[in-house]
């Protein structure tokens, strides 16, 4: 039975129309861009595109230049400044050992094997970890983690300083951990949650890779795996895992949980729910993440530099090494190698772009 408030005294007049220069920045109709706005936006876009695309253009024309055109100072337009010549590209089809491009074949194959294998492994493991972190609540006790770290240090000291056999030390350490976690462990109150685990994972990327690369080198040296595909694949997988987990976690968390609960009631197991329901729905995220990890592995330089010498050498190492030799820098050959190095990544980007579409969840839960 509340009182109805009295109407506001004087109605405000409608807003006055913009005049002068400001009219240029107002759209003529609803849903259109203003004239001034489109000039500014498209102007900036054209400028930026030119800036970004110029290196590619430069690569392309350099690959078509004769040595004399390269060394004669900058020339920009084919047929105007210089006559294009396919000599560097012709080398590509010349598989005789003398050709500088024949040397690229092995690194090319190495790059493909390493980048694709590590990406596949990384995305598979990372996606499953991310899904688990998005859907299962973990509560490891802080005390247990500390016990684990302490036991690991003790084991390392026992092996390194006192010369205890590695396997015996590891077995004793492991057994001690299980015993302590099951007995003393229950008295630890503080525990960490999924958000902490997630942050711990991404924190693995905070350390500059150059710090970790020497220990990694020594590890693989010890087990005799230097200059093998497997060593680089494993390293890339581990290095890129945090990125996959971090990115995929959000994609999985955004899938309505109803769908997974429904699948459970329909009789599906957790793994089946993951592969039948969750993965297809997260495929946009999976495609984007796959592409990112692929590019990171494809272009990686530092780890490859340490872990490979000849057998497992990758393309970035090859290109970086092309600046020497008795002939000087072969800019035209380098341009060709870089262009063919870019092609697989662009091809994958085009392939995966189909999946990076919106609206996949449309029709899932809204009425």
């Amino acid at each position: 039975m509340a009182e109805i408030p009295a109407p506001t005294p004087a109605p405000l007049p409608a807003r006055a129309r913009a005049r002068g220069l400001r009219r240029w920045f107002e759209p003529a109709r609803i849903g259109q861009m203003s004239r001034g706005g489109s000039i500014v936006v498209y102007g900036l876009l054209v400028l930026w595109s030119a800036f970004v695309l110029f290196p590619f253009y430069w690569l392309a024309i350099t690959s078509l230049k004769l040595p004399v055109d390269v060394f004669d100072g900058p020339s920009f337009l084919p047929w105007v400044d210089f006559t294009p010549n396919l000599h560097a590209w012709a080398d590509l089809l010349d598989f005789s050992a003398k050709s500088p491009l024949a040397e690229t074949l092995t690194p090319y194959r190495n790059s493909v094997i390493i980048a694709f294998c590590s990406t596949a492994l990384c995305v598979l493991i990372g996606a499953m970890a991310a899904y688990a972190l998005a859907r299962i609540e973990y509560k490891p006790r802080l005390g247990n983690i500390l016990v684990f770290v302490v036991l690991m240090v003790v084991t390392a000291v026992a092996v390194g300083v006192y010369g205890v056999d590695l396997w015996i030390a590891a077995a004793v350490g492991g057994a001690l951990f299980v015993l302590l976690a099951r007995s003393v462990g229950r008295y630890f109150k503080r525990s960490v949650g999924n958000a902490d685990i997630l942050f711990w994972m991404i924190s693995q990327r905070i350390l500059p890779p150059v710090v970790a690369v020497v220990p990694i080198y020594m590890m693989f040296q010890k087990v005799g795996m230097l200059d093998t595909h497997l060593a680089i694949i494993l390293t890339y997988t581990v290095v890129n895992l945090p990125i996959v987990v971090w990115l995929m976690h959000d994609f999985f968390a955004s899938i309505p949980i109803d769908l997974e609960e429904s699948a459970q009631l329909d009789g599906a197991s957790r793994l089946m729910t993951f592969f039948e329901i969750v993965v297809p729905l997260a495929r946009a995220g999976l495609a984007a993440t796959t592409l990112l990890v692929l590019i990171l592995s494809w272009n990686e330089y530092l780890v490859a530099l340490f872990l490979s010498t000849t057998q497992a050498q990758t393309l970035p190492i090859l290109v970086a090494g092309m600046n020497g030799g008795e002939k000087g820098i072969l800019w035209w050959t380098m341009a060709v190698v870089i262009i063919i190095m870019i092609i697989p990544v662009i091809a994958m980007a085009l392939l995966l772009q189909r999946f990076i579409s919106k609206g996949i969840l449309l029709g899932a839960v809204k009425g």
């Binding site: 109803d258 429904s262 009631l265 329909d266 197991s269 039948e276 449309l362 029709g363 899932a364």
Partner: protein, 386 residues
């Protein structure tokens, strides 16, 4: 472990047509659930007979959905049991419970076609594609969706999505259906239609059904029995007529009916119910001694508006609304009490007019104001009153 829905079991049931024989009793006993310090389900015990349609009714946050999720196995009960037939499924994984559920959001798999959605429970059970296709066609025919099997959920209307969700639930002939507000995403007209269809289908299939809703009209129309919950506890369970005509407490009385029952707060003094605004009615029966705060209740359709001085009390008209089939008159009584009265649709009255309200005293209810429980005392009907 035959409850676990082994492949042979389900295959036979799907091939064997009608599922009546598979309908089972579903009961929960002493169910408790806490979320942190929040006691959301309090000692809930309900038994649903085979083929019965039971509606769990209550306001949002009353624990009805949590109770349903415990039955489904999506939530773990802190104590209590869930029994399907004679089998204790309290700690069984959802996939082994032989229970199908329709979600409020329908939860259709957006990347699968209608046929794949309906066939998913069968695919999970390893049925061969041709057997699957036949069962899917049967289930789709039951919900009139056989024309749209190749569509994706995003290409369907809300009502069609609802049908697909239903078909996915019935395709494997489960022992029990759970439905979590399945009609709440539909517009009013479609909801009315789907309600009838749902009831027909449940009758046809004879599957034990637990249906959760906050809409008392849905509860009244669909249920064989309604279980009304509030703050995690069961308030009353009975047929829709029982809970409507004979509410056990203030909450049930106030929840059922649209508009709900009118309440007038007052007290019992010397065998009379007294309230401000000149309301005073003699009582009979036990506990009419006096001093207790009490609430008088009557239903809008039982009361009528009359000329001043001819009813139980006089008041003024606050608003009159024609809803189509009736005119709903709201009158003010005292500061914060407003009463709704249903009058015939021809009835018209000016705002602020002085009127009287009356209702047959045998249709009135009396509740304890403190506990909310129904009092055994009744209004004394004067001899010879109509």
């Amino acid at each position: 472990m035959s409850e676990a829905g082994t492949m042979a079991d389900d295959g036979a049931a799907i091939g064997g047509g009608r599922a009546h024989s598979r309908a089972r009793r579903l009961s929960i006993e002493g169910l408790n659930k806490w979320f942190g310090s929040n006691h959301v389900v309090k000692d809930l015990s309900i038994s649903v007979e085979p083929s019965e349609f039971l509606v769990l009714l209550g306001p949002s946050g009353c624990g009805k959905t949590t109770a349903l999720r415990i039955i489904a196995g999506l939530e773990q009960a802190d104590s209590g049991q869930v029994l399907l037939g004679d089998t204790d499924v309290t700690n069984e994984l959802p996939k082994y419970r032989d229970i199908a559920m329709v979600f409020q959001s329908y939860a259709l798999y957006p990347h699968k076609t209608v046929a794949e959605n309906i066939g998913f429970p069968l695919k999970v059970r390893g049925l061969k594609p041709d057997e699957r296709a036949e069962a899917v066609r049967d289930a789709a025919a039951q919900v009139h969706m056989e024309e749209l099997l190749e569509r994706y959920p995003r290409q369907l209307s809300g009502g069609q999505r609802q049908r697909v969700a239903l078909a996915r639930a019935i395709v494997r002939r489960p022992s029990a259906f759970l439905m979590d507000e399945p009609l709440s995403n539909l517009d009013a007209k479609l909801r009315g239609y789907m309600r009838a269809e749902l009831k027909h289908m449940q009758h046809e299939l004879g599957v034990t059904t637990v249906y959760v809703t906050h809409d008392q009209v849905e509860a009244m129309t669909l249920a064989h029995r309604v279980a009304i919950m509030d703050e995690g506890a069961l308030q009353q369970i009975g047929t829709p007529r029982e809970v409507y005509d004979n509410p056990a407490n203030l909450f049930v009385a106030g929840f059922m009916g649209s508009p709900p029952m009118n309440f007038i707060r007052g007290s019992i003094e010397n065998g009379r119910f007294e309230s401000g605004g000149g309301v005073g009615v003699p009582l009979e029966g036990e506990g009419v001694g006096g001093g207790t705060a009490a609430v008088m209740g009557f239903r809008p359709e039982d009361a009528e508006v009359a000329d001043p001085g001819t009813g139980l009390f006089d008041t003024t008209v606050y608003a009159a609304e024609l809803t189509g089939d009736v005119t709903l008159v709201t009158v003010a009584l005292g500061g914060d009490t407003s009463l709704a009265i249903k009058m015939p649709k021809e009835y018209d009255v000016d705002f602020d007019r002085n009127v009287a309200v009356r209702f047959p005293l045998e249709r009135g209810f009396l509740f304890d104001a403190a506990s909310g429980e129904r009092l055994s005392a009744r209004f004394a009907v004067p001899p010879g009153a109509a």
